[in-house]
Symmetry: C3
Subunit: 466 residues, 3 copies
């Protein structure tokens, strides 16, 4: 006997009946709004080639670090899931997942996945050992049909615009192909310069050489290096980019005098820099990027606080992004001061802050964003992109920063099929939060209705200039 | 068409119907209790002269950093709000605020302001662009009438006692005038010695000279300096003070041997001290102040953890207290040990701790206050003086420190008209919390009724010896 | 007139009626399960001798630091409660407690104690001044009866297995006596080597000598010292131990080359080590213990982050464990890396992490446990072993680590009579949390039923290999 899979229409709405009624009304008013996805990691190649996705494992399991990290934590070998080019049988890998689907109880992955299964693939039985093959076959078969090609899904998902993320060394050929194709889907890029800014990034020295080659600038001089950034930022902007993104270990910024910055760059680019230099260079480059944003209008995003590749053995064997990035305590108040001293009062500049350290929501981020004209707060991120995480975010930041210093939702995902589920979850949780404020007479109902739309749609468009 | 402004009688009470009924009963039993305001920043001049307040902008907007920080964060220039002696038109400034009132949705300022508009001024339409002039005129006109003079409002607000905060350099002439006037309102002072204790305070050296002048002690000797404190504390106590207050960057305390303390003082007072010396001196002075509290019975308050004047440009142009104070992570366990080693076990000494770092509520403050006889916990402070902030406070500290190691509510405000709104909000939230405990049978109803009164009235009177 | 004492059948369940109904059903399905107590501090002598407990004060008051710390915080002298061998009259001590029972409102101690009074002793009036003698007499009298002997209570409490905690220097004679007695109660030990691992532990040098004497190894050599651990671990395992436990100031681990570890040991054991050496030695020993766990299969527990004996005067007069241990901020991500680099990927090794710093739940612990095969998360601990503390734990860790990287409940107590109350509280809170997930359709009802049993019983048995 299989168990049914059902998505309840009231899922994720508050339990109290009156609050739920209010929340449902708010949710229904925004459920059909197009998706604005200003920050994420989908692959532009999908939309350029429109080639069908492969099988269930290849699409849903192998690339999703939320899933395989949990399986790994319970003793499943990554090789057996097909990671690291292991050549594992995808059907067998799927079974390992199906047999352990209970591990995801209470996690957002479960919510996203059930949406994908039920809504994207029309499956009506729950995933478990005995339905493993049914799932694998149903999904794999459907993926081969034109209705499940990337562009068809993009349209069916009602995506108004989606941003991918590329390195300055990327040629953006896929974005170019999308534009040349005549297809109307709006897929834009974002400028993510970590590989040429972070001296501790794998292949940094080679990246600098490629940066020179791709721009024609001498990126081993400070002026040439900065000019190369300007050139690539302009190119990215022509390919639709409205933002940059910076994934640093800390939020530290610096504003060194020109000569010191140049000397620091020289040490770093000749491989003579210490790890302190690396940190200082990243800090300095945030301020340089901010200066360029004032020139070219690109919105700046900062994602600090992840200890990347914490598991040495997994990194060695399987590489980056394998579920072993662990958040660390992150300080913003002193860290951001050099940048804010220079650009904090510029209302034309936007710096969107994210965090993996929830203890800073009420203590640091909301007070900063509730004062500095340039600052906005990104949504609950990564491990906190979840019902409880979003509630903690709203409850912690709203009272000091309000709603209008936040920027709506980011899905931040490479799991393309989960995008509608993620936005849907965010809309439900935000509407639940608004309904709670109305129930406590902290907000009028008409205000909640305006805010529901702002949080689901307008704030993201405005903050990211979309 | 204007929208109505209504204060719902059940505002801020929990949504669950049965819990709300319990909370309402509790709230109604304490709603009419007089206000005890043991810590705040109202201006004693108001009550001394009883001169009418000016216009709406001057009274409600320009002095309220909660308001102008939010407006500033969304691009409004502080000059245009009348800050920095800009001479901006108050009606135009009010309009900038009215047009952006939606920014305050979800913030406590909105709750306090709506109370002021509806209850203090009897306005029954919502603030927005089209009601801006109506608001400005109504408020400004009423302020000119005797019913809105400071003393009349004090009485109407049912304030039993209010403490202001003054520097040791203050002559307390207004407090003297209040007492001499025969008016029965109880306005007392509190001893806030930061300007003569913090070597990094603006004008510290000049302050030391004035400290000598005002006391007749030689405040450039360690003994003279300490004697000057003793003298001023005694004077403040005669002017009604029952407490001292200390706004330090950190909670660090020190207990140096006499000779070391003296040598440290010498460095600091001759301007030869490092920034490490400044921190150590502040630390040592907390212990000195504690020692004096044991002598004179003044209750000690510590408010650490704010990075003051974070925005260099705003500080330069507009000065202190302009909404750019940002909380930082604050440690208490090691920091307080020197002071606690000396006075922690004295049941006759009271040190009330505040924090802007909520991560210490359950981890450090509740365990400390649940053990040391001298310690009590101040209420949710500043950015956390809000519905969610107060709930986090109660949920985080009660299980370890209980209710009786807390001290009731502080409004901590210079926004005089909001004082009843702030106490009302605190009473509602506390009654809601108590009702939740009763609903879960963690508390009997008669206990909740006792506690509602304790939290609204008795604990503050007792802790502050009022 | 006395007030009644009643335990409401729905206590601690969520207020919302539909959620409460669900929670009640879940709770009823697990309320009768046997107690698994894998980590605690009861005295094995009780079960070995089965001698009756003494009077009310001796059993319930004097050994319970939750109680006397609160009384002390409100000015009650520890001598007057009978601590420090003061010889205080137990009836008078009990009265000091009874008169101040309101201090415990809102604390878990109140919940545990009311259970003990009502369920264990059948008292039906509330504790207050006028019932003080009634309580003292009723409890003291019942304790003398065979029904209240340790083994009888053990059986009545439906304890399937309980672990005590002993030092390697303990002879385990009581455990031996229990086994020899033919009594069927399962009382096992756990290996807690802090006294011979922490160079800053009182009597460390003497402990090392006793460690040599008890094992016949030369514990002043690195090899002998490690061999002694291996020998005692094996002995503890024979006496039923399935786990070790480590109470360190921090979570720091180290993995030094053999020669460095040996040199460090030499400094430490000759008393030449600095406090940095002490910290590094504790860190190194965690990794050594992990290595031994891989050999002998003992599950490892780490309890870091308590600043022990914070109150110098209380420690001097009354010794350890007198309610003056205060949590401090605790870092895990960098701290655990050396150990995890070596053993993190071993699925056969289990390291259960605890914390007193809730800010790490979502930031550090859940991401670590949601990735590393060896890691599991212990329940909300000590100050956080409370309704709100458990809710914060579940809400913070479940979304990233799921339920199956947690290990059920630990009572961690020496207050034997409160054990059923503590497990009951945990079951109620967990069932309430599960019911909330069902109400929001984040979980199916049949999943919640499975999980209720897992959290109440199965996970603890499995994680601790019981």
């Amino acid at each position: 006997m299989t168990r049914p899979l059902r998505l309840h229409p009231d899922r994720l709405l508050p339990a109290d009946p009156a609050t739920r009624t209010l929340a449902r009304d708010l949710y229904e008013s925004v459920a059909g709004l197009p998706i604005i996805s200003p920050h994420g990691h989908t692959d532009p190649r999908w939309f350029a080639t429109n080639a069908p996705f492969g099988n269930a494992t290849e699409l849903l399991l192998a690339p999703d670090h939320y899933i395989f990290r949990m399986l790994y934590s319970q003793g499943v070998r990554l090789e057996d899931l097909g990671l690291g080019g292991s050549g594992a049988d995808p059907r067998a890998a799927w079974r390992l997942f199906a047999e352990r689907y209970q591990l995801f109880r209470g996690t957002p992955s479960r919510i996203w996945l059930d949406w994908v299964f039920a809504e994207a693939f029309g499956i009506d039985v729950a995933l478990e050992a005995q339905t493993s093959d049914l799932y694998f076959d149903t999904i794999t078969e459907k993926l081969a049909s034109p209705d499940y090609a990337p562009r068809a899904l993009f349209e069916r998902f009602n995506i108004e615009v989606i941003a991918t993320t590329e390195s300055p060394l990327d040629t953006l050929e896929h974005h170019d192909a999308i534009r040349a194709s005549g297809w109307q889907g709006r897929v834009i890029t974002a400028y993510r310069p970590d590989p040429v800014i972070d001296p501790e990034f794998e292949g940094f020295q080679a990246n600098i050489d490629r940066f020179s080659a791709i721009t024609g600038e001498d990126c081993r001089t400070w002026q040439g290096y900065l000019a190369a950034h300007r050139q690539r930022r302009a190119f990215f902007a022509r390919m639709g980019a409205t933002s940059t993104d910076h994934g640093h270990p800390t939020a530290r910024t610096a504003d060194l005098p020109h000569a010191e910055a140049e000397a620091l760059f020289d040490r770093v680019v000749t491989g003579k820099g210490t790890s302190g230099d690396a940190e200082l260079f990243r800090a300095q480059m945030l301020t340089e990027m901010a200066a360029m944003s004032l020139e070219d209008g690109l919105v700046m995003q900062l994602h600090p606080g992840s200890f990347r590749n914490h598991n040495a053995r997994v990194f060695e064997r399987f590489g980056r992004d394998k579920g072993a990035d662990i958040p660390v305590s992150t300080e913003y108040v002193r860290a951001l001061k050099p940048l804010l001293d220079r650009f904090g009062n510029e209302a034309d500049f936007t710096l969107i802050l994210f965090t993996l350290d929830e203890s800073v929501y009420a203590r640091e981020l909301a007070p900063l964003a509730g004062h500095y004209p340039c600052l906005r707060l990104g949504p609950a991120w990564w491990f906190h992109d979840s019902p409880e995480g979003m509630r903690r975010f709203r409850r912690s930041v709203t009272e000091t920063a309000g709603f209008y210093n936040t920027v709506g939702f980011n899905d931040d995902t490479r799991a393309f099929l989960s995008i509608p589920a993620r936005h849907d979850l965010a809309r439900r949780i935000d509407c639940g939060f608004l309904a709670e404020l109305v129930m406590e007479h902290r907000l009028e109902d008409w205000e909640a209705a305006e805010l529901a739309r702002d949080l689901a749609y307008d704030l993201a468009k405005k903050a990211y200039k979309l």
